[in-house]
Symmetry: C2
Subunit: 195 residues, 2 copies
DNA sequence: GTCTATAGGTGGATAGAC
DNA sequence: GTCTATCCACCTATAGAC
């Protein structure tokens, strides 16, 4: 706010474009040139906002995680039913597909070996956050008798993240969001209490 | 066999190296230069065997699928128990991780939007093959009363492929094959008949 | 904050000698 | 089949003017 009031705005627009490019092409398949062309500036200008591509990628993951946390808080505030929470969680992945994208962090996991260490760490942290939120929903839901599953909540949470990430990417390859939605529904109905 | 008897051998070695590079770095993050350096030849020599990178990538998927089909035939020949078949199928993904790699086609699915159309088609065909084999195992296993699940076998097969692919990539990011193995076990035990 | 200009490297691919 | 040499496009990044 003090100086250059539109600095943040430009940075955000850069991140918006970069995010979409990662979600459709991957981290190693987009360039400063792609962003510059779309934003209508030169490549050099981008380096003012993000000196290195690795730094941009790192910020991208941090922002993606912050957006997720807000969405999870929204779910927690919107419903107390654990089944509804899981459905709305799966809907986050579905929405990405309807925007003709994949999950940013799912894509990055496939490129894990090529990412700079700070991005690798941020990526694992993103998955940890997903896992922890799901584990709480699962644990308390079962405690309340509204979810049915065996084994440790954390391990089931990992299964959910893995399944949804995998289904997200494969459905993208088929250009078919419905394919994801059916798979997610199949996955989640296993948690409904037996009547 | 007729002429240049070691032609196939060199091509295979190129494919071996390319395959490992895709499984660890992705299709867009390896170059002819990487292969040439490892094989001890020049980049130009590689173009004799594979004129274009897209052609190389296409052959890579075809060979990967052929290897899979052989592994599936081996499973079919080795056991009749559907649970054992599913476990051995999941073991294919685990073996990849123990070799410090991801599933080739899982990685490629994350780069789908950047692949030349022939590779996109071959990729979907690979997933189709997995799905079909699993659907047969699931359908006949349930018919024989040795598997327990509801819904269409094809849809359950898709869930299995998605979950295993996703778990494969995330476990790779954590450098932890055990993480995959626990998730796979959790996934498969849901299919055991209730005693 | 954005520009021009450029550095220094790597990408896939080709021509032609051997 | 493999080599040298080369092309041209593209990459990330920096210097310095405006």
């Amino acid at each position: 706010m003090e100086k250059s009031t539109n600095n943040q705005s430009t940075s955000q627009r850069i991140l918006d474009i970069a995010e979409r490019l990662v979600q459709t092409r991957g981290y190693n398949s987009f360039s400063y040139g792609d962003i510059a062309a779309e934003l209508g500036v030169t490549k050099a200008s981008l380096h003012y906002h993000f000196p290195s591509k690795g730094g941009l990628g790192h910020r991208l993951i941090e922002r993606y995680e912050a957006t997720l946390l807000a969405a999870l808080a929204d779910i927690d505030q919107g419903t107390n039913d654990p089944i509804s929470k899981l459905r709305r969680y799966a809907d986050l992945y579905a929405t990405v597909l309807h925007n003709n994208r994949m999950c940013c962090c799912g894509v990055l996991s496939a490129e894990y070996g090529t990412l700079p260490p700070p991005m690798q760490e941020a990526l694992r942290h993103y998955f940890d956050v997903n896992e922890r939120w799901l584990a709480v929903v699962l644990d308390s839901g079962r405690e309340a008798g509204r979810l049915n599953f065996e084994r440790e909540p954390v391990e089931v949470a990992r299964l959910l993240v893995s399944s949804l990430e995998g289904a997200n990417m494969i459905a993208y390859s088929y250009g078919d969001p419905k394919r994801f939605e059916r798979t997610a529904e199949l996955l989640l109905e296993a948690f409904e209490p037996k009547t």
